[in-house]
Symmetry: C2
Subunit: 468 residues, 2 copies
């Protein structure tokens, strides 16, 4: 990196400019693959520091990689072209609630779980709840438009952000949106920036919308003999008149991983289990679960267990939370996909994944947010076994293509990052890529904001696995 | 307009190219002000016809104005620079429901109310419900990101669109989003295009998300002695734990207009009334209204009437629907604003409007979507009385500036169009205008898509009233 640039950074960042190799190395990876080495790291604590850093990067054309807690599963924060990592994880100084306005204002490094706690202490709720919420930052959630199990009823991160403060590629500080839920003044930059993976601007503050916390929840576990019926039951429940607040599925493989990992009492022989939560007034929750039960009876499903108390309910949700750790500890590398399909196509997707699993002889675990068609087919693989890695590549490609064929998407909530960019045009077409690139070029003409993400580079044909 | 261009349009549009003055004249106005004359009108019925028209406009650099049912209150479809009007109102051929996927696909000319009816016939609901829903088109709703009374619980148009087909300024047909609620593949063009007022691309199809229709509704009318307490009660209700599905306010002036117009039995002496609807399971609705009542008691409000049956409930909502017609027929020109403020600032906004009304000696009626801070201060004025029009200008400017000062916005749901562009920079700053213009320029470099909207033209200082 240019010495003058480094000197300038040093001048205002002091000790919070990290340049030693051992420091830099730990900023080179995330929850996906690959290890890259940034030239330096700045641990920013204010909008002014971000702005000054961006101005230097703009002047010297240095790549800028914003980073929260590095839990990304798509390579979002990876410094693939070196340059400067903006470490936001230390900037958690602002977390303010305005209960009368039903909003929270937060700096980018605030942990998502702390937002939940603050909202709940006022009997309010911030619905987005990615699995990593106890460690991930709101900044990362905003960059990737994180989802979570409540998406089926409450939507995703984007649905709860009404305003941002951003720093543009040329170092200007802008406000987008504001403190009101409705706002149609000019283009909706808030919703454009959220989910743009740090490639259009850098977020330095967010205004989040809250809703009243539901009075109570109840949870049912539905046990299936075959995967196809499990898939079918999802549409059936969602058209029964009830709006579940969560609807998560685990296939046999996932169930057994959790049983092995945590010794929980679950039906090992089931083809799948579906966990359904309803929320709202306690007086109607049983009635709602009755409606769900009635709807399922019509397709011959009657093995339903309703949690009798809060402990049992917590245990059921613990099962879902343990799937990822169970897969990670069961060995080798975990490749998490999040192809998403229309609700009526979930049975087809299950059937296809089963077919692919056998065709390529792979260990695929399927679980995910069934209620919005967002499945997480997850593969355990040995990265040193190049034959197996090749089969993984083929399998993942086949899953992507089938999801698109069904009217679905490459990514429901993880983002494109480095992991899926080779397949971008499959979904949005070459013209679509050009249209999106025109926006990128207009807002970041020197390509300094998170370069190497979302858009495929020339000749890129496969997953990052084999490009490394 | 260029003769060759006209000839080319004639070739494929035939009778559906309108060029006579008496035909063109009726495409020159909308629900706001001003009368403009397009060079011609094409009554498009397919994506191909839109695409061909755009290609011709692009080649000859002719302004293109997309138009639905012309109910816009902000000048959205006005052909301010002549050119071609794309009349979408005849293209209502596609209205398809996929109940298992909880989606509807619609062509741009479909009436919003027909979407409601189709969804409800499957026990589903499409929540956005602008007052004009029985006559407006979904295309116009998409262009303006229309709101409506259910916004407080269910959000606005943008929250229910998961995919679009669009024609870009250079005549390419693109799909954005898809058939899934979650999608983070590349930039969120769907949400960028919706609400961009026809300035970034032309929408030719939309995929709308549905939700289960709530089982029942109940409505309460709350009567206030003073406007400030009415404002206060809104936050109070929204933090009580209940989520009302509608929350509409009418001030004394609005109440009396409706009484005069329709002879309804309403408290003429009240400072304001608030209509609150709750929806969901019938067993909890009374309980929820009890919670609302308890919350209001704490601030000394106890004049609450709960509709005892469906007829009474319908009558109460009829009151809200009649406000606009009542104002229109009471004489002169109706100027509808939709400045929106954070919930806790509603009492301040009411106080300010009252002050402005007296200061400028104007007839201002206040009503609107109280639950999301979206007020409609509406002025009746005689456009031939230039002194009064001057006072209206000053009053409106003061309302805009105060809304922004309170952390609110110029426009909650009507859009900027021609009506508010002079004030755009007040809200989003000069740098913000440049950032938005960069997007516009990247996607429509020849400025053929709805030119003259959103962005102020040089020297533009006041409302359109005095620019005409």
């Amino acid at each position: 990196m240019n010495n003058n640039a480094m000197e300038k950074l040093k001048n205002f960042m002091g000790d919070r400019l990290l340049t030693e190799i051992d420091e830099r190395v730990s900023y080179g990876y995330d929850g996906s693959f690959g290890q890259y080495l940034p030239d330096c790291v700045v641990q920013v604590l204010s909008t002014e520091e971000v702005q000054q850093t961006v101005c230097i990067a703009n002047e010297y054309e240095i790549p800028l990689y914003a980073r929260g807690a590095s839990t990304s599963l798509s390579g979002g924060p990876l410094p693939v072209h070196g340059g400067i990592v903006l470490d936001f994880s230390q900037w958690h100084s602002k977390l303010e609630i305005y209960p009368e306005d039903l909003i929270i204002k937060a700096s980018p490094g605030v942990i998502t779980g702390d937002i939940h706690k603050l909202a709940e202490s006022y009997n309010l709720m911030y619905p987005p709840d990615p699995s990593s919420s106890s460690i991930c930052t709101i900044g990362g959630n905003l960059a990737e438009n994180a989802g979570g199990p409540r998406g089926v009823k409450y939507g995703v991160t984007k649905d709860y952000v009404i305003g941002l403060e951003i720093v543009t590629a040329d170092g200007k500080v802008l406000k987008t949106g504001g403190n009101t839920v409705k706002n149609v003044t000019g283009y909706d930059l808030t919703k454009l920036i959220i989910g743009s993976e740090g490639t259009l601007a850098i977020i330095t503050e967010a205004t989040l919308r809250l809703i009243p916390k539901p009075l109570d929840t109840r949870t049912a576990m539905i046990i299936f003999d075959d995967l196809y019926t499990a898939g079918q039951s999802i549409s059936k429940i969602l058209t029964s008149g009830v709006r579940p607040s969560k609807m998560e599925i685990l296939d046999r493989n996932a169930i057994n991983k959790v049983v092995d990992y945590a010794g929980l009492d679950l039906p090992r022989e089931a083809a799948a289990i579906l966990l359904v939560e309803v929320d709202g007034d306690p007086d109607v929750l049983s009635k709602e679960l009755d409606i769900v039960q009635e709807a399922l009876k019509k397709i011959g499903v009657d093995d339903i267990q309703i949690a009798s108390d809060k402990e049992e309910e917590a245990r059921l949700w613990q099962v879902r939370k343990l799937v990822s750790p169970a897969i990670v500890t069961s060995g080798y590398t975990k490749i998490s996909e999040d192809a998403t399909v229309p609700l009526s196509k979930i049975p087809d997707m299950f059937r296809k994944i089963d077919e692919i699993k056998r065709k390529y002889n792979l260990n695929i675990v399927v679980f995910g947010h069934a209620g919005d068609g967002n499945l997480h087919p997850t593969i355990n693989t040995n990265m040193r076994d190049s034959d197996e890695v090749g089969r993984v590549e083929d399998a993942v490609e086949e899953i992507f293509k089938y999801a698109i064929e069904l009217g679905g998407t490459l990514s429901g909530e993880h983002g494109i990052g480095t992991m899926k960019k080779a397949f971008l045009a499959n979904e949005i077409s070459d013209d679509g890529v050009l249209f999106q690139k025109a926006i990128k070029k207009a807002l970041d003409p020197k390509n300094i904001l998170n370069p190497g993400k979302i858009f495929p580079e020339p000749g890129e044909k496969r997953l990052v696995l084999q490009n490394d």
